[in-house]
């Protein structure tokens, strides 16, 4: 872990972060899959802010909504599993960032916009979604899956050059 790569300590910390975010994604996905009547419609219809019209329009299209529901619940689950395992970590991080960005834009805590029901916590522009997004950027940038995760094996098996080790 030299030559500009992160040292062992920070890599362990980032791996822990990766597993935690993965856990959260996995449960968000599984909870939706196992709830027979879950749909993103409720969330989309509460959309606020500059992109609200797009999200609401989406909620009103039954076919698109069904697709969005499937993509969301299976996508979240898949991203969660991959992050925990450290398999295809970069792809999974990018996918996770995409999901969070959509959630964030659906209800952004911008100045002058507020949720009509009380939510836990107080947010101005930065909310927990954005923090989790930041965590995934760290995971994305660090190559944590190669440090500790199945990516290590993938690399070895595919016979590519490994990172420093």
């Amino acid at each position: 872990m030299e030559d500009g790569k992160l040292a062992r300590g920070p890599m362990i910390a980032i791996t822990l972060l990766r597993v935690l975010v993965g856990w959260h994604f996995l449960y968000e996905g599984i909870a939706k899959i196992t709830s027979p009547s879950w749909s993103a419609a409720g969330y989309l219809k509460q959309a606020r802010g500059p992109f609200a019209d797009i999200f609401r329009w989406l909620a009103a299209q039954p076919d698109l909504l069904a697709a969005a529901d499937s993509i969301t619940m299976w996508g979240l689950t898949l991203v969660g599993v991959l992050l925990i395992l450290g398999l295809f970590t970069r792809l999974a991080s990018l996918g996770g960032i995409g999901f969070i960005l959509l959630f964030y834009l659906c209800n952004p805590p911008f100045v002058g916009l507020f949720y009509s029901i009380p939510v836990e916590g107080s947010y101005l522009i930065v909310n927990k979604n954005l923090v989790e997004l930041g965590a995934l950027i760290v995971v994305l940038a660090s190559g944590s899956g190669v440090f500790a995760g199945l990516d290590t094996l993938v690399h070895a098996v595919l016979g590519r050059k490994r990172k420093t080790g």
């Binding site: 709830s35 027979p36 009547s37 879950w38 419609a41 509460q46 606020r48 002058g112 916009l113 029901i117």
Partner: protein, 304 residues
């Protein structure tokens, strides 16, 4: 809204009662003061019972249980709560979501099974607050109770914002009522004489605001709005399969007044044109220059 007081009003007996965070009042014309008082108090008992069902502050009220539903769960509610929810759903539909008892948390996810009076949540997290329709709902049922008691001419209101004129005083066209600018300064905008008609009012005091459930943003530009709906018109709506209880006129007017604070004027006009008997008044905020604004009127009075 106010009630004018000409000479014949001396015979009007007034009874009031605190409930639903406001004051309910029955003004009845009846020769027997004791009997009128008993009728009024029977109506107030009814309001107290309704409040226990509709309050969101008690975990074991109908609304408390609905608000605790997780996805896929259901709960049984009283028939009167079901009626109130049916009207709320209907008003959500006709106002394009401008009246939304779930304040944007997803009213359509509540499935209302009227035949078994059961509410099912298809998604979790729906929170309803019947504050914008509950008073009207109570006033409707109080009106029916008073009629059952043989009180034929009365005005019932919940906090002045939800009013039901039952019958009319002898030799009068209707109960005299006023619609006023909430001010400051307070001034009478419209004088009406109505019988068997429900009126709902919504407004903001200086500095207050109403949140648009469709956008989550505070609505601006209007100071007050009123909805007027004859009971007969509400009755015909329910006969026509629009759902809801027999004569949910005050509940509908209560809800519509809130929606009229938010809806586009041409949508209000279109709704009034499509709903015989429904009238709306909208009072815009005063312009920066110029005199006090006048209320805009939509719809035509129903024949009652």
């Amino acid at each position: 809204m106010g009630l004018e007081s000409p000479a014949w009003t001396a015979g009007v007996k007034r009874f009031s009662h605190e409930a639903m965070a406001t004051v309910f009042e029955v003004q009845a014309l009846h020769p027997d003061a004791t009997y009128a008082a008993q009728a009024a108090h029977a109506a107030f008992d009814l309001v107290d019972r309704l409040e226990r069902e509709l309050t969101r502050f008690l975990p074991n009220s109908d609304v408390g249980r609905i608000n605790a539903l997780a996805a896929g769960q259901s709960t049984r509610v009283s028939p009167s709560t079901m009626d109130c929810l049916l009207v709320a759903r209907q008003m959500y539909d006709v106002t394009g979501g401008a009246f939304d008892v779930s304040i944007g948390t997803g009213l359509p996810s509540l499935e209302l099974a009227a035949d078994e009076s059961r509410v099912r949540a298809s998604t979790g997290g729906v929170r309803i607050d019947l504050g914008g329709i509950g008073k009207g709902h109570a006033v409707d049922l109080m009106g029916e109770l008073l009629e059952d008691w043989g009180i034929e001419a009365a005005v019932v209101h919940g906090g002045f914002s939800s009013v039901l004129a039952l019958g009319a005083p002898a030799a009068q066209e209707g109960w005299p009522l006023t619609l006023s600018d909430p001010g400051p300064p307070i001034r009478v905008l419209v004088r009406l004489a109505r019988r068997d008609t429900a009126l709902g009012a919504s407004g903001v005091r200086k500095g207050g605001h109403i949140v648009d459930p469709r956008t989550g943003k505070p609505a601006a530009g209007r100071r007050a709005a009123w909805a007027v709906l004859p009971r007969q018109a509400a009755h015909e709506r329910s006969q026509a399969g629009c759902g809801g209880p027999r004569r949910a006129a005050a509940a509908a007017a209560d809800a519509l007044a809130t929606a009229f604070m938010l809806m586009r004027l041409r949508d209000i006009g279109a709704l009034c044109a499509a709903s015989p008997g429904l009238e709306a008044w909208v009072l815009p905020e005063p312009a920066r220059s110029g005199g006090p604004p006048e209320a805009l009127h939509f719809g035509t009075p129903g024949s009652s």
